[in-house]
């Protein structure tokens, strides 16, 4: 009964979405206030309906209602409660419900928290979101309906994939989807602006918080995915250039470019049509990612069970949504005239370079991910593109970007002094040199690129910090004065500092992976091995039982120079229902390096393969990402977003930004 309610709620949501997609649009065209306002109510109602549908599905999972086909295929009574709930989105149909849930959440948020928007713009934005909602609700109801019943109901379900039975499932997809779907707001803003024929500083200011929020969510989502892969898969890898990983990286790169580009629109009234295009492209990349994961055209560990019918439907969705918006762009964008002029060596120039490098990076990932598909579809040879390609093409693009991140914020608007800026970064040069020399010394000349990477990260971190110090005139004014300035700095400045600093931290983590050390040995109980100066002793291996698995649990004692560091328990779990074995790695971290221990195979005669890795700075990869996202949140909390943006009607120009801001 509840399932039918959920199903009905979803169908109702489709009709509400249809209304939301049409009425406000007509209202904006005619200036009909009532119709425009309808968009807000529709968005909120749609959200409530979809939330209801989601709750109904969760209820079926939690109560193990196996008469529901989706539950029977993906759940089991033995599954722990956390996975009963989060397993809702561990399959294709359920994850699509999560997708439209996030979509309706974003639309409702726009409806409720955008009192500063002119009604016509808001109406158009909600209408576009309604259209997207229509597309995806149709997709769910026609091809991927989780509310279908199966009769007779099986006694028990097929269970959730053991790899997914991890707390990561509770967080990774929701954050990721919030990010993907959140960019639909920027997309809707772009389309609305094109329909209106106007993009200005006010538009950029309105669109920024939504873009920032989605970007933060996506950053966290990607970082979580990487961390989850790291501790689950057993060999310490954290990025595989897997097509689905790439599908999440591309919107992130485009979204980062979008955030920076919209700054230029807001401050200098230029780069308008480019920013609008980026906003369209970012969400388009999210949609393309959805297509890639669910259509079966690419092989990926993330790929859901696929069906060409679904692939075709999503492709049609893509054609309408992206094709339509790009057509609108081709027609309306030429009319968007820019205003501000700037010299190439200026902050605008640096941001333009930022955009160029990020876009090229995004295109590189796109090319690498889809090239095998394109070549094969044309009848060419079957190739695979792995990490060597990306290392040689993507990484070289990011190096100049990191330099731009360090130097760019020091350049003034309109016309900057590059030489001066490069000189003021002297602190950073010293920091970089110190780090390079130190690493070189400590590792007796490790891989050159990694050492340079660490030096670059140090340079960037020092540059970011010294830029902040410059703003508050640290050491040049009395400390109290500097502190006062620091307190009155706009939050967006701190946001930028944190975000760029977080980037440096992550880059250090990426580079240090070249210094990993590993040790793989076959041990009996009592045997020992060593890695990176740590000694590991396999004490004993016990058999234990979990909720729905049987595990071999190893007790390993880690010591260094004789003193105890930790006792860890890597496991190998066997899930009888799915007849699959997974590993639970044991990671001991001191936030500077990880000691990663995994239990391998046994020959059943008491010999166990134990794999141990020492991975320096690897936690910094995810710590850096968290700092980046935190920077985004700090920026979001800036008062300027919440107090009304520059009202359009008035003749008063927006405040001239202080040079160096």
């Amino acid at each position: 009964m509840i399932i039918e309610l959920g199903h009905f709620a979803l169908i109702l949501a489709l009709f509400v979405a249809l209304v939301q997609a049409s009425v406000p649009l007509a209202g904006a065209a005619r200036g009909h206030v009532g119709w425009m306002a309808a968009g807000r109510s529709c968005a909120v109602i749609q959200f409530l309906l979809i939330a209801l549908a989601m709750l109904a599905l969760m209820h079926a999972y939690v109560t193990s209602d196996f008469s529901v086909l989706n539950v029977a295929e993906n759940s089991h009574t033995d599954k722990p409660l956390l996975y009963q709930i989060t397993g809702v989105w561990g399959n294709h149909e359920g994850s699509m419900v999560l997708w439209v849930f996030m979509l309706s959440l974003c639309a409702a948020a726009v409806a409720l928290f955008s009192n500063n928007l002119p009604p016509a713009l808001r109406a158009r934005v909600l209408a576009v979101q309604g259209m997207i909602g229509v597309g995806f609700l149709l997709f769910i109801l026609l091809t991927s309906n989780p509310f279908l019943r199966s009769f007779p109901p099986p006694l028990n379900g097929r269970g959730l994939n053991p790899v997914l039975q991890d707390p990561g499932l509770a967080f990774h997809p929701p954050f990721l989807y919030l990010g993907y779907v959140g960019f639909s707001v920027a997309f809707a803003f772009a389309v609305a602006a094109l329909i209106e024929g106007r993009v200005d500083a006010a538009w950029a200011r309105w669109v920024r918080p939504w873009t920032l929020a989605s970007w933060c969510a996506l950053t966290i989502g990607i970082a979580m995915g990487s961390w989850w892969a790291y501790y689950t898969l057993g060999w310490g890898g954290w990025w595989f250039w897997d097509p689905v990983e790439n599908a999440s990286l591309m919107p992130w790169l485009a979204g980062t470019a979008l955030i920076h580009s919209s700054i230029v629109v807001e401050k200098r009234d230029t780069l308008k049509s480019w920013t609008v295009l980026l906003a369209i492209l970012t969400f388009s990349l999210s949609l393309v990612g959805t297509f890639l994961v669910r259509s079966g055209v690419l092989t990926s560990v993330h790929a859901f069970a696929t069906d060409p019918a679904r692939g075709t439907f999503i492709l049609l969705l893509l054609l309408v949504a992206i094709g339509g918006s790009l057509t609108l762009y081709a027609v309306r964008a030429p009319a968007l005239k820019g205003g501000g002029l700037f010299a190439p060596l200026s902050r605008e120039g640096a941001l333009l370079l930022n955009n160029l490098l990020l876009t090229c990076g995004c295109a590189t990932v796109f090319l690498g991910t889809l090239y095998p598909l394109f070549l094969d579809a044309m009848g060419g040879p079957k190739l695979s593109v792995g990490f060597p390609f990306f290392n040689r093409t993507f990484v070289p693009l990011m190096v100049p970007l990191l330099i731009a991140v360090g130097v760019g914020p020091r350049l003034a608007w309109k016309r900057g002094d590059l030489l001066g800026a490069l000189q003021r970064v002297w602190v950073a040069y010293i920091a970089a040199a110190v780090v390079v020399l130190a690493v070189f010394y400590a590792t007796h000349g490790g891989p050159v690129l990694a050492v340079l990477g660490l030096g670059l990260a140090a340079w960037l971190a020092a540059s970011v910090l010294s830029e902040l110090a410059e703003r508050v005139r640290l050491f040049r004014l009395p400390l109290a004065e500097s502190l006062r300035r620091a307190v009155h700095l706009p939050r967006a400045a701190y946001g930028m500092t944190f975000a760029h600093f977080g980037l440096a931290v992550s880059v250090a983590g990426f580079s240090a992976s070249a210094f990993d050390q590993e040790s793989i040995e076959v041990l009996r109980a009592g045997g020992a091995m060593s890695v990176a100066g740590y000694e590991l002793r396999l004490e004993h291996v016990d058999r234990i039982a979990g909720a729905n698995y049987i595990a071999d649990d190893a007790t390993i004692r880690i010591t260094r120079n004789g003193s105890l560091v930790a006792v860890v328990h890597p496991e190998r779990r066997f899930f009888p229902l799915q007849q699959q074995t997974t590993g639970e790695t044991a990671i001991r971290t001191n936030l500077l390096a990880d000691l990663y221990v995994a239990l391998g195979d046994t020959d059943k005669a008491g010999n166990w393969t134990v794999r141990a890795y020492w991975k320096p700075l690897v936690p910094w990869i995810w710590i850096g990402a968290v700092i980046m996202a935190f920077g985004g949140v700090v920026s979001l909390s800036d008062r300027r977003w919440r107090v009304g943006a520059a009202a359009r009607a008035r003749a008063i120009p927006p405040p001239v930004p202080v040079a160096g801001e």
Partner: protein, 169 residues
């Protein structure tokens, strides 16, 4: 579907249904930097070459893993093939060619640089070049200075005064 004894992929054409399950099965089975101690060659130089070559070969039944990382049966077989060839005195190129002769260029993680892949390898640099050129053209095309505004006529001047006074009110 996956025997407990073997971790080799159990079938492919009905992949549409089984792929995720099987693939995930591989993923689990493949949770290892999987060179077993028993596989290692006695000669450290040869073993180092074997590891380097393995790191560049794709595991065909896994997702985005090299045979060096994967614990799948097929990965093990190819690792042993590599070591056999190296032990027999083949060069790195000959060893890699032996694997490619059986499985095609798909097994290489680094796509070969050939006419079919010029767009892939040189595309990014070309895009960067085009982008830079485009920006240069765009920067040059814009007027060097903002044109002097045409002076206001009487009506416009009065309207401006009115608005400015309103703003101050």
């Amino acid at each position: 579907m996956i025997s407990r004894r073997r971790r080799t992929k159990a079938g492919s054409a009905t992949r549409k249904i089984w792929l995720p399950i099987v693939a995930i099965g591989f993923l689990l089975a493949a949770h290892a930097l999987a060179v077993e101690p028993s596989e290692r060659l006695a000669n450290p130089a040869l073993e180092a070459r074997a590891r380097a070559i393995s790191a560049g070969l794709r595991c065909l039944v896994c997702q985005n893993e090299s045979i060096d990382d994967s614990q799948a049966g097929l990965a093990h077989d190819i690792r042993m093939l590599v070591r056999r060839r190296l032990s027999a005195g083949d060069t790195d190129a000959q060893t890699i060619q032996a694997v490619v002769a059986r499985y095609g260029d798909f097994v290489l993680l680094k796509p070969p640089v050939e006419p079919a892949t010029y767009l892939l390898w040189f595309g990014p640099a070309a895009l960067l070049g085009i982008g830079l050129a485009g920006i240069a053209v765009w920067l040059r095309r814009r007027p060097a200075t903002v044109e002097a505004a045409t002076p206001l006529n009487q009506m416009e001047r009065e309207r401006l005064d009115k608005l400015m006074n309103e703003g101050q009110g």
